[in-house]
Symmetry: D2
Subunit: 294 residues, 4 copies
Amino acid sequence: MSNNLVGIIPPLTTPFIDDEVSTEKLIENLYKYENHMLSGYVLFGSNGENVFLNSDEKLSIIKSVREHTSRTLIVGAGLDSIKETISLCNEAADLGADYALVITPSFFKSEMKHRTFLNYYTKVADSIMIPVVIYNVPKFTNVNIETETIIELSSHPNIIGLKDSTENSSRISEIHANVHSGFKLIVGTASVLYPGLISGATAGILALANIAPDQCYQIYRLFKERDFEKALEIQNKMIPVNKAITSKFGVAGLKAAMDLLGFFGGHPRLPLEPLSEAQMIELKLILKQASLID
Amino acid sequence: MSNNLVGIIPPLTTPFIDDEVSTEKLIENLYKYENHMLSGYVLFGSNGENVFLNSDEKLSIIKSVREHTSRTLIVGAGLDSIKETISLCNEAADLGADYALVITPSFFKSEMKHRTFLNYYTKVADSIMIPVVIYNVPKFTNVNIETETIIELSSHPNIIGLKDSTENSSRISEIHANVHSGFKLIVGTASVLYPGLISGATAGILALANIAPDQCYQIYRLFKERDFEKALEIQNKMIPVNKAITSKFGVAGLKAAMDLLGFFGGHPRLPLEPLSEAQMIELKLILKQASLID
Amino acid sequence: MSNNLVGIIPPLTTPFIDDEVSTEKLIENLYKYENHMLSGYVLFGSNGENVFLNSDEKLSIIKSVREHTSRTLIVGAGLDSIKETISLCNEAADLGADYALVITPSFFKSEMKHRTFLNYYTKVADSIMIPVVIYNVPKFTNVNIETETIIELSSHPNIIGLKDSTENSSRISEIHANVHSGFKLIVGTASVLYPGLISGATAGILALANIAPDQCYQIYRLFKERDFEKALEIQNKMIPVNKAITSKFGVAGLKAAMDLLGFFGGHPRLPLEPLSEAQMIELKLILKQASLID
Amino acid sequence: MSNNLVGIIPPLTTPFIDDEVSTEKLIENLYKYENHMLSGYVLFGSNGENVFLNSDEKLSIIKSVREHTSRTLIVGAGLDSIKETISLCNEAADLGADYALVITPSFFKSEMKHRTFLNYYTKVADSIMIPVVIYNVPKFTNVNIETETIIELSSHPNIIGLKDSTENSSRISEIHANVHSGFKLIVGTASVLYPGLISGATAGILALANIAPDQCYQIYRLFKERDFEKALEIQNKMIPVNKAITSKFGVAGLKAAMDLLGFFGGHPRLPLEPLSEAQMIELKLILKQASLID
């Protein structure tokens, strides 16, 4: 595996044909992504419709993707159940996954506090064969893991990073100032990629990288070259696009944009629905204004 | 099976010994409950720590419980994935479950609207062998299914009821006025059992019934006998207890109370923790004030 | 004044003509309400657009209304500032108000806890010449005053009741079981009038009473006469109407419904806007289905 | 007045002695601040306990502060009532205020959308003699004004800026890319000062500037000098302090820190309470760790 979590990493969407997983289409997309400056791939992120996939589907996808790329492979594998999480992570590891992206447990919201998170992540990290990346995404979980908790967990030898999908870059800043240099901070949404990098992040796992991998990489490269004005300019151009494929139209919007941009998007799985015609028109306009399509 | 959803039904807790399921303790509890006026049992409700159990554990519990009771058996079997939900429901049906309690999908919160819920519940109900009870519990899911949606779903021949765990009995009232008489409305929290019955509910699936089955049944019976003052008196006495075992102390509190009242409670599964000593003292006081212990 | 808080009380809307208060229209409405079985009036409730009125406007309205009715007059007079609240309450008292309806302070949300509420209400109640009714309305304040706090405050000689505008009647139940009989519990929304009365409330301050005073009164009377089935029937018929004039269309909807039902509604004050044409059509349909209009 | 909104601006706390405003103490603080590199002052920000002050107190404070400084004076003057807002803004202008900081109206939360905000801010800006700075602070208002709305309002000749107190710097970025260069973007919380400046903000109105004006200014200066590493280092050192005086301990914490750092803090006004002894110990530790006290 590539030995670190740096650069731009798309959380791949899962193609469905007639509501069934199409690994073939996924691999076709993968081949296209291999030609872009991407450091790796996430399978089964939120927008990978992780919650709609069963265990067999997941393992079959990992196997297939692993055969077709040598880039870093990060697998979304967190569930409320510690036992199930460990089991899935280890199966993923056996199939060649490099990292486990473990979302915060969240069902018993009012119990999800410092101690509970320590219990959960310590137990998982102790028991799996690949390193853990903590995944914080309050917009889906309605739970937020505090910076103090992450700082404490960062000393665990098998917990090596955080994907933070809030838009609050001061979290990155604060954690960065309090963890060892090996602990990787990963921006989870393109809207704050640039402020996140400035604040200490080394990578971005970005839905936007599914449709605009080059623009995401440019922001990253320009930041590294300290060309801040140019980085910000591209960042700003991408903000409306990123909104469209996340908060505005969700995974259906992301997939529709993929179809418009030469990848296979297709429909989200039921019970989600594809975009309406009116939404498609709005999406196209946004992509056009950002010069992603003509 | 008993052919209807009426009366008091405890959502059984799942006993763990050394963090492993103890079916033995579960059956011991069951034998005790069989001596009380209970109409059935829910397995894998929220407080059954459903999210911490894997598929094998669930199937083994259903099998064992089915062998030891002829009362109605309702199995919590909802997941975001339609496919997985159908598969689990049908396995439960094969093992003798009478009803599937299907929690609202919730991960993609902002997409969980009228159309999505129709898609989800119609597909599930079309494909499973036992009737569906919709389960609405916003405090855990951060999603609320609107009364209009439930009313529309009530016409599906295989969707036969709703467990509503909000504390808003006007929802029961409104739905009751707009559905056919076979559609069962079930109160999901003891704090509004009495107002719920008054508003058209026929049953209560109540965490409280794990520790105070007789008091819950009395409220139900007194309501049926139109002895409203007496019903309300017991209801009021139980409100602080119900708070203690739900919002205040969660499943750890419910299990601790079970231990104090002659059932096997034990610890919740990791990452949850048992009550602290100070919390135990407070819990005992509350149970004493309600005359449940001396 | 009428010496107690029982029965049905409309929180009067404030008529505006060209965005200016029309006391004349308010008095015209009042004359109509005097012919209905209403126990009193609230001025400057939430739907009275309290937050859009200045002090002079409020005092002038109180003066005018007091001159035209001998029924109980309850004046909404709570602000975050204790000092301002006291001053407004005492001015209202001088003009003949019978009770002060004091909304929970709410700006510093995370500080609004037991101790803060005790500080606030004790200080206000100590300093004003008329009795205080606590007003809890989380949908507007995003703050909820706990039942424990209300129970503690109920022992203050000048705090004599609670208007609770949540839809959770177990709050009424729990408080009722723990306060002296003189402490009045008032339902704050028509959707739970009947469950609230059953649970110990003696009155309803209901937006719905602005447009359907007789139906509200009937629910109250039938409850008193223990004709529960009939009470529930009317309650259920009113739920969609109540939703339309509260959560669905807000104060603009309430005022539009008043216009349709023979009262003066008019437009809400800026920045709020009147209903659109499409909304008007929907509102009329709802009123027609409830047999309020032909 | 200083002719633009750049640099660091503390939102002054309001000193109380025996729960009464002490203008004397406020002026003493002001004299101290005059020796620091601050561009101006905000009166009656959230932490100025704006909601606890009446109109007379506010006007008297403005008058006094205006007499003692020639720096930019920004006055918090937003209320739900358009009429009252206009009246207060114009009184403030008469007394020498340079800008009105107008918080989003928020009481009717579900109505607070694009159109309503346009109505509100347009009407206010049309009618007052000093320029309007929009103030967005969802943690207190539970309302968020969308970037699209701000961009549209930015074309009004009398709306000249935004104080954004979310921690999401992509909002700054997005607005910056879509407004004319005269529209000023102001960071509203020190935790994202640096990312905010990078994203296009020109100033910070920061509670932290009440206790650490030099550190705030250094972040600003280092950013202007493009010494990003150093800026970030100070920013990171201040994050725990900023948390302590905002989300952790609120205005009571901010005032306690002022007392520890040579300013007059005192107690917040009732119903708020001063820090407990345990909280004081924790606060001191945090200030010590940030080298603000020995």
